[in-house]
Amino acid sequence: MQNLAIPASARTPAIDFDFSKNHLKLSGESYPEDVTEFYKPLFSALDSYLAELGPGRSCRVDFELVYINSSSAKAVMMLMDKLDAAASNGAAVDVYWFYDEEDDTMQELGEEFGEDLENANFHLEKMSA
């Protein structure tokens, strides 16, 4: 299926969903005017991709978010749920949460999300300088 690449804007993250390489990435900041409008196409694309992911398949998702508002955190939570569901269907899903070493908030947020993943593998990593 078609890869999804959206450049970052002032208030939305860069999206680099390389479905052919099974490597998805979100990076930057997220506090869009309309969270639904921004994340809906992501959810659709992700749903299609994950529907085809089963035992024997693997996928890596990198979150490199510097700032997200509370509405975006809700959207990220939904992304995490979808990834975890795919993992429970047998796919090997690795979620990487990168945070700035000096950012306790993003580190803690990462830990929160990580705690809730039951089937996907979670990796909390510092961003390289």
């Binding site: 002032a10 208030r11 506090y31 005017e33 969270v35 639904t36 809906k40 959810f43 700032y67 508002n69 509370s70 509405s71 955190a73 809700k74 959207a75 939570m77 939904m78 700035d100 000096e102 950012d103 306790d104 908030t105 803690e108 929160e112 809730d116």
Partner: protein, 180 residues
């Protein structure tokens, strides 16, 4: 307004350490613009990254709360806020004793006061761990009253749910910062 009166307003604000004061229609465009200005100011001030992030995060959440839920809209005498109306709010950012302080306020319906007071008091009295747990619970979110159900639009958190989420995030963010 005469220059003198305008100058007096400026002085009054300055004397209270207020560096940004916005009172008026609050829109996403205002958020973008003021947000950029705040960022530049913090950069100029050489504020450390943690502080800059906290100030910015609080600013965004507070502003978005007002944009979505202020009960004061442009129509004088309106009984209830129009869902598509533009909202009024007031937001100030200042410095007191070397710390940044943000105040944000908007009118709410009288009928909502007690419910809000209970929720906010409960949140205010929580410690960091309790806040974290509550935030997570809210993030998972049972949609509150007025939600549209399980469809894709339902997670645009309705009313008090969103502002409660924001309040929790604010307390958590600032408590995270002050613990260092």
């Amino acid at each position: 307004m005469l220059a003198r009166e305008l100058f007096d307003i400026r002085s009054a604000l300055r004397n209270q350490g207020i560096i940004f004061a916005y009172s008026g229609y609050v829109t996403e465009a205002v958020l973008s613009g003021v947000g950029d200005a705040i960022r530049q100011k913090l950069l100029f001030d050489d504020a450390d990254t943690k502080t800059t992030r906290s100030v910015f995060a609080v600013f965004v959440e507070q502003m978005q709360n007002m944009i979505r839920y202020s009960a004061e809209t442009g129509r004088a005498g309106a009984a209830a806020p129009s869902p598509n109306g533009i909202r009024y709010g007031v937001l100030t950012i200042g410095q007191e004793n070397g710390e940044y302080v943000i105040h944000a306020g908007n009118l709410v319906q009288r009928s909502d006061v007690e419910r809000l007071r209970l929720k906010l008091t409960r949140i205010r009295d929580m410690n960091k761990e309790e806040l974290r747990a509550l935030y997570k619970e809210q993030l998972r979110g049972d949609p509150g009253e007025g939600s549209k159900g399980a469809g894709s639009a339902s997670w645009r958190l309705p009313g008090a749910h969103q502002s409660q989420l924001n309040s929790i995030l604010l307390m958590w963010t600032t408590s995270t910062r002050s613990s260092h």
